[in-house]
C-alpha cells in the first residue's frame, strides 16, 4: 500500500503550486484555476486522511465532495464577475483592476 505521506506530499505540492499560481498569475481566470488547484489539494488531503485514519466514518470523503461542489459554485460566480470586468474594462488582467488602492 502506498504510504499516506506520499498523498500528503503530493497534496502539499499541489497546494503550493496553487498558491504560487495565485501569486504569480495576472489573468483572473488563471488565478481561479490556481485556486482550483489548491482546492484539489484539499480534497486529496481529505480523501487520504479518510482512507488511512478514519476508515469507518466517511467524514473526509463527504467533505471532499462538498469542497468540489462549493468550488464549482465559486468558479461559476467568479467567472460571472470576471465577465463583468471584461465588459467594463475590456481586460481580465487583475493588475489592471487596481483603481482602488492605498
Amino acid at each position: 500500500m502506498v504510504p499516506m505521506e506520499n498523498y500528503l506530499v503530493l497534496s502539499g505540492i499541489l497546494f503550493s503550486l496553487g498558491v504560487y499560481g495565485v501569486l504569480a498569475r495576472r489573468n483572473a481566470v488563471l488565478v481561479l484555476m490556481s485556486v482550483e488547484l489548491m482546492l484539489n489539494a484539499v480534497s486529496l488531503n481529505f480523501v487520504a486522511f479518510a482512507a488511512y485514519l478514519d476508515p469507518d466514518k466517511a467524514t473526509g470523503i463527504i467533505f471532499a465532495v462538498f469542497v468540489i461542489a462549493v468550488a464549482a459554485a465559486e468558479v461559476g460566480l467568479a467567472l460571472a464577475i470576471v465577465i463583468r470586468l471584461f465588459r467594463n474594462r475590456s481586460t481580465a488582467n487583475v493588475d489592471e483592476a487596481a483603481t482602488m488602492r492605498w
Binding site: 498558491v19 495565485v22 501569486l23 488565478v31 493588475d95 487596481a98 483603481t99 488602492r101 492605498w102
Partner: protein
C-alpha cells in the same frame, strides 16, 4: 488697650476699603478722611502707650492671638505681640504717618488720582502697623508683602510716566528677591520648631532645638529679606529709583517706616542672630559696606531726593552696623531719630519741589532761603541732625552706634567714622547748594514761593522732633515721660543700658561733624563749584565710577537682559522647537508618516494581497512554533 493694639492697624485698613470703594465720590476726594484716620491712630497710639507703660515691665510683651487654622499638627495662630520695640515702631509710624498725611493734602493738591493716593497711603499704614504688631513670622510676612505692594502702588502713582512704572517694578522685584529669602527662612524655622511664633522660635533657639549650621543658614535667609526691604547692598538699587513716587511717600515709606522694616526684623530676631554663629558679623559687614558705598554715592548726586535716598541707604547701613554689634538699643534708637529728621528732610524736599514748581536738581536751585524761610530753617535743622551736630537727635543716635562699634574692633569703628564724615559732608552740600548762595536759575527763582500751612506745619513739628528725639536716650528724660528710663533702658537685648555721656566720644563725633561739614562748606559755600570741579577733573574716572553708582544698575541690567531674559528666550525656544515641534508634533508627524508608508502596502493588486495572506500565514505559524516550543 495694649492687647487690642490691632485696632491701630484695623482703622487705616478700614479707611482704605472705604476710600478705595467711594473715594472719588467723597467730598474733597476723601483727604479729610485720611487725615482723620491718621490723627485717630496717632491718638490711639498714646492710649496704647499709656496702657503699655501702666501694665509695667512684668506684663511685657503683651500678647493676644486667635486660632487660625490647623491641619493635623500644623497649627496656626494669628495675633499681636506688643513689646518695647513694637512701641517704638508704633510711635514712629503713627507720628510720621500723621505728618505725611497732613503734608500730602498740600503736596498732592490737583494731582491725578488724589483719592487713590490717600487710600493707598492708608493701606500702607495699616500693613506697616500690622508688620510691627505681628507676633508671628507668617503674619509679619503677610504685612511685609503688603507694605511692598503699597510701596509699589505709590512709587508708580504717576504711571503715565514710563520711569515711574519702571521704578515701581524695580522696587517690587528687587525686594521680592529678598522676600523669597525671608519666606524660605520662615519656613525653615517652622520646619525646625513647628511654630511661626517669634517668641516661641526664640525660645526654641535658646533651647538649642536647631542645629548650628541650619540656624546660620536660616538666619542668612531671613537676613536676605531684611536686606531687600532695607535696601542694603547689593539690593540698594531700588530705593533711589523709588524717588519717582510722590515725595511725601518717600518720606513715609522710603525713609521713615517701610525701609526700616529690615532693621526692625533684625532687631526683633536679634536673640536668634546672636546665637547663629557668625550671623551678626555678616549683618555688620553688610551694614558697613552699605553705609560707606552709598555715603560715597550720596556725595556726588545732584538731585536732592536722590541725595536723600542714598543718605537713607547709608543710614540704614548704620543701623545694621549697630545691630551687627549686638546693640538693639543703638540700632533702634538711630531708627527712631532718623525717622524724624529724614522724614523732615524729605518733606522739606517736597516743599522745595512744590515751591519751585517741580524742580529738584540742585544745579537749578540755590538761594532758596530767602523765598522759603520756613522750609529752609527746618531743612537746616534736619540736615544738622543728620550730620550729627551736638545735641540734635542724630548726634545722640550716631554716638550710640559709635559707642556700640567701639567694642567690636578698630576697623569697623574707623570705617564708620569715615561714613559719618561723609554724612556730614553731603548734608552740608545738600543744604548749601539748595538754599544758600545765589539762585542758579533766575527763571525758577522768580516763581518760587513758600508753601502753605498744611506743608509747613508738619515741617515745624518734625524739626522739633529732630531736636528733641535724641533726648530720649537720657534716663531722666525717659522717666519723666513715664518710661522706665532712657531709650537704652527701654529697648535692649539682654541688659538695660543706662546712658552716660562719654565726652571723649562726643568730642570725636564733633570732630567728625566738623570735618565733614567744613569740607562741604569749603567746597560749595557761596554758590561756587570750581573747587569741586577741580576735584572731579583730578580723578575723572573715580568720579565717573561714583557718579554712576559703581555701575550696579548697569550690572544688574546686563544680568537681567543677557542672562535671565536670555535664558528665558532659550527656554521658550526649547519649548517650541524641542518639546512642542519635535516632541509633540514630531510624534504626530511620525505616526502620520508611518500611516503614509503603510498605506502603500495596499497596492490595489490582487496578487499582492494574496501574497500578504500567504506571508501572514507563514509568519503566524513561525510565531506559534517559536512560542509553543
Amino acid at each position: 488697650m495694649a492687647e487690642h493694639a490691632w485696632i491701630l492697624a484695623a482703622v487705616p485698613g478700614l479707611a482704605f476699603i472705604v476710600m478705595a470703594a467711594t473715594g472719588r465720590r467723597l467730598p474733597r476726594q476723601g483727604d479729610w478722611m485720611a487725615v482723620l484716620c491718621a490723627t485717630a491712630i496717632f491718638a490711639l497710639f498714646f492710649a496704647v502707650l499709656a496702657n503699655f507703660l501702666n501694665l509695667g515691665e512684668g506684663a511685657w510683651p503683651i500678647l493676644n492671638s486667635i486660632e487660625w487654622t490647623a491641619i493635623g499638627n500644623f497649627e496656626l495662630r494669628m495675633g499681636i505681640a506688643v513689646d518695647q520695640i513694637t512701641i517704638v515702631m508704633l510711635g514712629v509710624i503713627t507720628t510720621v504717618a500723621l505728618m505725611v498725611n497732613i503734608f500730602s493734602v498740600g503736596y498732592m493738591k490737583g494731582e491725578p488720582r488724589y483719592w487713590w493716593y490717600f487710600a493707598v497711603l492708608q493701606l500702607f499704614v495699616a500693613s506697616m502697623l500690622m508688620l510691627v504688631l505681628a507676633d508671628n513670622l507668617l503674619l509679619l510676612y503677610v504685612a511685609w508683602e503688603l507694605v511692598g505692594l503699597s510701596s509699589f502702588l505709590l512709587i508708580g502713582h504717576y504711571w503715565e510716566k514710563r520711569s515711574a512704572v519702571e521704578a515701581a517694578k524695580k522696587a517690587f522685584i528687587t525686594t521680592r528677591v529678598g522676600d523669597v529669602g525671608l519666606l524660605i527662612g520662615i519656613i525653615l524655622f517652622w520646619d525646625a520648631t513647628g511654630t511661626f511664633n517669634i517668641l516661641e522660635i526664640i525660645h526654641h533657639v535658646e533651647e538649642g532645638t536647631i542645629g548650628d549650621t541650619r540656624l546660620f543658614i536660616t538666619m542668612m535667609f531671613i537676613l536676605l529679606g531684611a536686606m531687600g526691604k532695607s535696601a542694603q547692598l547689593p539690593f540698594h538699587v531700588w530705593l533711589p529709583d523709588a524717588m519717582e513716587g510722590p515725595t511725601p511717600v518717600s518720606a513715609l515709606i522710603h525713609a521713615a517706616t517701610m525701609v526700616v522694616a529690615g532693621v526692625y526684623l533684625v532687631a526683633r530676631m536679634l536673640p536668634v542672630f546672636e546665637l547663629a554663629g557668625d550671623a551678626l558679623t555678616v549683618v555688620m559687614v553688610v551694614g558697613l559696606l552699605t553705609a560707606l558705598f552709598s555715603g560715597v554715592i550720596a556725595c556726588v548726586q545732584t538731585d536732592i531726593k536722590k541725595v536723600l535716598a542714598y543718605s537713607t541707604v547709608s543710614q540704614l547701613g548704620f543701623m545694621f552696623v549697630a545691630l551687627g554689634a549686638g546693640y538693639a538699643s543703638a540700632g533702634m534708637f538711630h531708627l527712631f531719630t532718623h525717622a524724624f529728621f529724614k522724614a523732615l528732610l524729605f518733606l522739606g524736599a517736597g516743599s522745595v519741589i512744590i515751591g519751585t514748581h517741580h524742580h529738584q536738581e540742585m544745579a537749578q536751585l540755590g538761594g532758596l532761603w530767602r523765598k522759603m524761610p520756613i522750609t529752609a530753617a527746618t531743612f537746616l535743622i534736619g540736615s544738622l541732625a543728620l550730620a550729627g551736630l551736638f545735641p540734635l537727635a542724630g548726634f545722640w543716635s550716631k554716638d550710640e552706634i559709635l559707642h556700640a562699634v567701639e567694642g567690636v574692633g578698630m576697623w569697623p569703628f574707623f570705617f564708620l567714622a569715615i561714613a559719618a564724615i561723609m554724612t556730614a559732608f553731603y548734608s552740608a552740600r545738600l543744604f548749601i547748594r539748595t538754599f544758600l548762595g545765589k539762585p542758579q536759575d533766575p527763571e525758577i527763582a522768580s516763581h518760587t514761593k513758600e508753601t502753605g500751612l498744611t506743608m509747613t506745619l508738619p515741617l515745624v513739628f518734625l524739626a522739633l522732633m529732630s531736636i528733641v528725639a535724641g533726648f530720649f536716650i537720657f534716663h531722666d528724660f525717659g522717666s519723666a515721660l513715664g518710661f522706665p528710663g532712657g531709650f537704652g533702658e527701654f529697648v535692649f537685648l539682654h541688659h538695660a543700658h543706662v546712658f552716660h555721656v562719654d565726652w571723649s566720644l562726643v568730642a570725636l563725633s564733633t570732630v567728625l561733624f566738623v570735618l565733614g561739614t567744613f569740607g562741604g562748606a569749603w567746597l560749595y559755600l557761596g554758590g561756587r563749584l570750581d573747587r569741586s570741579t577741580v576735584l572731579v577733573e583730578w580723578q575723572p574716572k573715580v568720579y565717573d565710577l561714583v557718579k554712576n553708582k559703581f555701575y550696579f544698575d548697569e550690572l544688574y541690567q546686563f544680568f537681567i537682559d543677557r542672562v535671565v531674559l536670555g535664558f528665558s528666550y532659550l527656554v521658550s525656544w526649547f519649548d517650541r522647537f524641542a518639546v512642542n515641534d519635535t516632541g509633540v508634533d514630531g510624534s504626530a508627524t511620525m505616526t502620520n508618516y508611518t500611516g503614509f508608508l503603510l498605506k502603500h502596502l495596499q497596492s490595489g493588486r490582487v496578487p499582492n494581497y494574496a501574497m500578504a495572506i500567504a506571508v501572514g500565514v507563514v509568519a503566524l505559524t513561525l510565531i506559534s512554533l517559536a512560542v509553543g516550543s
